[in-house]
């Protein structure tokens, strides 16, 4: 349910090439303070971003450093977004201003959550990812990253086009900003048919309405 198509993005990328960055790290549970999708940006990476338990920025953390505080793209390692299913991780990234993540791989629930919120999650092999990170770290201003979803490739002024991987269905949903529920409701006749048939085949599945 995005409603906002993903268009070609050119922005600074912050390299954070760790493996297994989990959703507890992206948004610690203690930072989820209300029932809703907002008010989460302050809590993004709270355990890494701040010193101790307060809100004093930790200068060691890349998003606290010039120029990466302006980054709209994150580069990460393998299995990004593992752990808890909390969609708050994606909402926090989006609210903070991150619009795309380029990583070696993504955890399955996190990936779906990205697509459902218009956040691009593009996969790149480790070698290409490290080369890109090195180039950016050496001269960030010279390496704004262009993510072209239409052609599934990324470009920097010096590297030329590098193809990235993304599931074709996810790509289409991101490009068109499709509303998944509205799309599925077009199949409502198929769904009704299925349930009519299934109630006869597997009546034991269907419970009585709760009082």
């Amino acid at each position: 349910m995005t409603g906002r198509p993903f268009e070609t993005l050119t922005a600074l990328a912050a390299p954070l090439l760790r493996d297994n960055i989990d959703t507890d790290t992206i948004i610690p549970s203690r930072e989820i303070k209300s029932v809703g999708k907002h008010g989460l940006a302050q809590g993004l990476f709270a355990g890494w971003r701040y010193q101790g338990a307060g809100r004093e920025p930790d200068p060691q953390f890349i998003l606290n450093q010039v120029p990466y505080a302006q980054a709209q793209i994150l580069l990460a390692g393998r299995n990004f977004g593992c752990g808890s299913s909390r969609e708050h991780a994606v909402w926090a990234l989006c609210e903070y201003g991150i619009r795309a993540i380029v990583a070696q791989s993504f955890a399955p629930i996190f990936f779906e959550n990205c697509v459902n919120n218009g956040l691009l999650a593009a996969a790149l092999p480790a070698a290409a990812l490290h080369a890109l990170a090195d180039a950016i770290l050496a001269a960030p201003q010279l390496h704004p990253l262009t993510l072209d979803l239409q052609h599934s490739e990324l470009r920097t002024p010096s590297t030329g086009a590098i193809p990235f991987a993304i599931d074709p269905d996810a790509r289409e949903r991101l490009l068109e900003g499709l509303d998944a529920i509205a799309l599925t409701l077009k199949n409502i006749a198929d769904i009704d048919d299925f349930h009519g048939r299934d109630r006869r085949l597997r009546p034991w599945v269907y419970l009585r309405q709760c009082p």
Binding site: D24, S29, R30, S84, S85, A107, D190, W204
Partner: protein
Amino acid sequence: MHEPHREHRLAADQPPASTLFEKIWRQHLIVPGDHSLLAIDRIFLHERTGSIALRGLRERGQPVRNRAQVFCTIDHIVDTRPGRGDDTPVPNGRDFIRQTRAAAHEAGIRLFDVTDPDQGIVHVISPELALALPGLTIVCPDSHTCTQGGIGALAWGIGSTEAEHALATGTLRLKKPQTLRVSFDGALSTAVGAKDLCLLLISRHGAAGGSGKVIEFAGSAVRALEIEARLTLCNMATEFSAVSGLIAPDDRTFEYLCERRFAPRGTLWDMALEQWRRLPSDADAVFDQEIRIDSGDLAPMITWGTSPQHAIRVTDRVPDAEHSGSSREAHARALAYMRVAPGEPMTSLRIDAAFIGSCTNGRIADLRSAARILDGRHVAPGVYALCVPGSSAVKRQAEAEGLDRVFKSAGFEWRDAGCSLCFYAGGEDLGLGKRVVSSTNRNFEGRQGPGTRTHIASPATVAASAVRGHIADARTLAP
């Protein structure tokens, strides 16, 4: 009238050899495609992520499609101290509970509320109440939904937006995952079990080792596991980055489910049973990947670092970078956070706290296994220990068996059911820099509180460590 004809046609369509997963997939396929539309039989919600899905649906003006198939519980941030109500130490926790209750009532779905005798952690109560059944598709906006694969269901965690989709349409659209069979062969010795099996698997193949796959756990060691241990094994499939894990249902499964609150009865039970017996993977079914592990010499496992893949035998020493299975940088970060050094024996690490509970190890069998070690003993001075049953029913059963007295006389706090300190939500904590042995599933940085150092292990290992005051091999205390 058309049933026999249809069943016959479906049977004729069956490919010659299928896995358990493929059989369930086919049964639920509404519209095939690159991303197929799949029927969802059960949806579970809890107060942390489910309330947002219900609210999203209401904002769209969309009703819940199959209300009788949707269930909600209060488990994540509910207070677990005795005499609880809606107030919780988690800041604004009461809002989550009250808004969830209001949304569940408005949507007309069944809620296992704070004081309901069937309240508990969603993945503990679902099998307990036979809401999870073999062959069902089950989803919940919670990553540990895969737990319920232990009874032979296809159960997986989703996001809140996907939950909205499932609530509105009774379906989800997904790409067919690849299959992975993990076979554990070799009889398990005493004092080791399902938790040690999952930690061994993840330590060998990495936290991304099952990435995007559906795992079928098989082999003689798995067949021999009781149902509760099977739930523990499947629980940590998500820690392996798998979509889900499941185990073929057998007589043990059917016996476990029979007569439970929401189990089918009479002729419906007979019909279900006949269908369930056809679910196990065919002998010649082919999996996309196979992993075989000899579990005959399994030892108690424990984590030394900040990922479930950082697991070693409790009798081992903290590995150096070369043998850690992680990059040099990740290894160094984990050492620094955990304040451990390469070469240090795990059993030399003094602990500050011990936690028994969670959807991984909060069932009656887990509590019994810890109580066997604690009986007649006391936790070491300076160790804060607590036991949080996974459900209100587990708590009642434990009390009927006198286990609560064993825990309390050993110096453990005895709590009401919930997720409790499996994660830190801003309420109760274990303290900055404290070292905890925990029967939970995640040893991530900060998971149990800022700076808290978590070692995950089986309930027996937690109990033994609490008694010794340092990480301990439960086999040295086994009765």
